[in-house]
Amino acid sequence: MSEVFIAGIGLTPVGEHWELSLANLSARAMLAAIRDAGNIRPQALYVGNFLASTMSQQANLGTLLVDNAGLGHIEAFTAEAGEASGAAALRMGYLAVKSGYVNAALVAGVEKYTDMVGVEVEGLISQSTDYDFEATQGLTPAGQAGMLMSRYMESCQTPRDAFSALPLLAHANAVNNSNAMYRKAITMEAYNKAPVVAYPLNLFDVAPYADGAAAILLVNEELASSRNLVRIAASSVVVDAMALHDRPDPLAFSAVTLSAQKVLAQAGLDWDEMDLFELWDAYSIFGILTIEACGLAARGEGWRWLRENDLSPKGHLPLLTMGGNKARGFPLAAAGVYQVAEAVLQLRGAAGANQVQGAKTALTQAMGGPASTVITHILKK
């Protein structure tokens, strides 16, 4: 089996792209990744997308995006795993190259959230819940996160501002990311004054939905041979019970635990050897539960661990180095590809003011739903 290398990345600014179609936004990222790789022609495109079939009335994105970008008669289709779809497409590309069937695979995470406005939008995003038992009762992803946060606050007796560490860190890091949606640091005072969005989540506990497209070109050893490239050292997908009420311990985020354990075992590495961790901060509570599920902090202590450790690019385990979903912006399915492309920037030493000095190993993790699907990758220089 071949090693899998990342030969090129392409990122578009996250935001409201009213003037760009799904296909044209995607083409910008795809063609940028191909150029970045020195014009290697991909043999396959794997698309990660969550909402196009409803929000943009468009399915069969593989063909649409290949056709629009002029990539010819190649293999192409979409991977769907809710908000983790982009990371699922990367997993697909990894398997294709690893297996030897494909020499060069392009992975594109794309979301065109602004193709629709109104109350229907929240309903479409709620497709990542268990429709028959959750969405049909009116539960939305923000509602799920609110319930988890309430439960956490009660069982761990945390103060209300216990959830501020990640949003503050994300906003501070996004200041230096030219692709970020909110390039402005926020203060603790601003966090505490923010209006409630879905009790008890306030505005800064919630990552803002946005448009975005990011692409990664994966190649095998042969195509990578002449260059010193970042490689995917491990890849794992683990799922949990779809509905929160079907989990014996909803605060456990078991799929996070299992997926992280799997990649560490595959790569033969330990948490101590990770130079940065791009975790999934769709909601601040998800970040806290992730830290606990990964064993970095004891149960009920994740909020304190986040508050007491230096997690900036200069700290001992840098998190959300380019602003995370909270401040880079949360283009749903595309976010899983942004995370990995941002980690590549770090490992290439190309992360600018947010560079993690000497970064050699990075762990990235994306989620569909509240850790219903967890997709984790380890990148190594």
């Binding site: 409201e16 009213w18 003037e19 602004t114 406005v117 109104g118 209006p195």
Partner: protein
């Protein structure tokens, strides 16, 4: 298609064959005010970050027609002409009381205009009033008529609980256009910029409009207003500093301030015409009422830039210069500030009754 030779290219500005100006103007704002905090109290939300302080609310016996008549009578007082000389009455609004049956004929008869006139209602969301002004400019400017009346008026409706409810207000402004030589403000030129942009709409039989939320900002309001203002100034060879005053469509307090800043206008230049914080968004009346407030205090030589915005979407820009004839005309009718000061605060319950949102059967 044969390209137009460079020397034959015409200006994008709309200029009349003979100079045209405003010979009389008038405003009307209902006396009732609903503080935005009242709406926040009923529908939830904090008192911080509200888009306006309060909005005007029409009384039980007021609508677009009655407000248009009040504003038109004020305009006639300042114009000092006999209404029998008027040759057109155009009322721009998105809240005409009838779906079919003109508001303009009711207004015309009420103010004593003759039967041998042009009369029609215009509809283009919040720019219907400025469109009526440009149409009147064309009629007078071509020499087809000496006097034409253009009105922008609305009793705007926002669905209870919707963000629009915080700002949807009522008011009217009327302008009698005539030959520039007798005008109190000459209209140097106009420019209009429109695109098919679905940011706000109401279909037939729907009671309340719908809107594209954040889409109403950048690709709608800001794009059209700033394009219209920029092209107007480019084609006129003017800069922001050439204008004593500027007034922009004002759906809230924030948007006009931001667009003014981006175009290089100071707070000083826009504060006289920025009324949305205290009367809300009067839709087709919004930038026209801002203009009446400016004219109330303007002096000869003052140059004024007015840019409306209507969803759907487009902006009309008007470049005006105040003449010596404004002296003595400003106080012939109640000023815009008089109407703003005539304030009766109501609570949400009274507002609910006045605005007809209670289901009676």
């Amino acid at each position: 298609m044969t390209p137009v030779p460079e020397k034959e290219k015409t200006s994008l500005l709309l200029k009349s064959a003979r100079p045209v100006g405003i010979i009389g103007y008038g405003a009307y704002i209902p006396q009732y005010r609903l503080p935005a905090s009242q709406i926040a109290r009923v529908w939830g939300g904090s008192d911080e970050g509200l888009p306006v302080k309060e909005k005007s609310v029409p009384g039980l016996d007021e609508d677009t027609i009655t407000m248009s008549i009040e504003a038109a009578r004020n305009a006639l007082k300042r114009a000092g002409i006999n209404p029998s000389l008027i040759r057109a009455v155009w009322v721009g609004s998105e809240s005409h009381p009838y779906a079919v049956k003109p508001s303009s004929t009711v207004v015309a008869e009420a103010i004593g205009a003759p039967a041998h006139i042009l009369a029609a209602d215009l509809e283009f969301a919040c720019k219907a009033g400025s469109e009526a002004m440009v149409a009147a400019m064309g009629l007078v400017g071509s020499g087809m008529a000496d006097y034409a009346l253009a009105i922008g008026a609305d009793t705007a409706q926002g669905k209870p609980g919707d963000a629009l409810e915080l700002t949807a207000a009522a008011g009217a402004a009327a302008f009698i256009l005539g030959p520039a030589e007798i005008s109190l403000a000459e209209i140097i030129s106009a420019y209009s910029f429109v695109t098919d942009t679905p940011d706000f709409w109401r279909r037939a039989y729907q009671h309340y409009p719908e809107h594209g939320q954040r889409f109403t900002g950048e690709p709608a309001y800001f794009k059209h207003i700033s394009t219209a203002a920029r092209i107007m100034m480019e084609e006129s060879g003017t800069r922001a500093s050439d204008y004593a005053y500027a007034v922009f469509h004002q759906p809230n307090a924030k948007f006009p301030r931001r667009v003014a800043r981006e175009l290089g206008f100071s707070d000083e230049q826009i504060k006289t015409g920025l009324l949305s914080p205290v009367i809300g968004n009067t839709y087709a009346g919004a930038s026209p009422i801002g203009l009446t407030a400016i004219l109330d205090g303007a002096k000869a030589g003052d140059r004024i830039l007015m840019v409306s915005y209507g969803s759907g979407a487009g902006s009309d820009a008007l470049d005006l210069r105040v003449t010596k004839k404004i002296k003595g005309r400003q106080n012939l009718a109640p000023t815009t500030a008089d109407y703003i000061a005539r304030r009766v605060e109501i609570d949400y319950a009274t507002y609910a009754r006045y605005s007809g949102i209670l289901a009676m059967k």
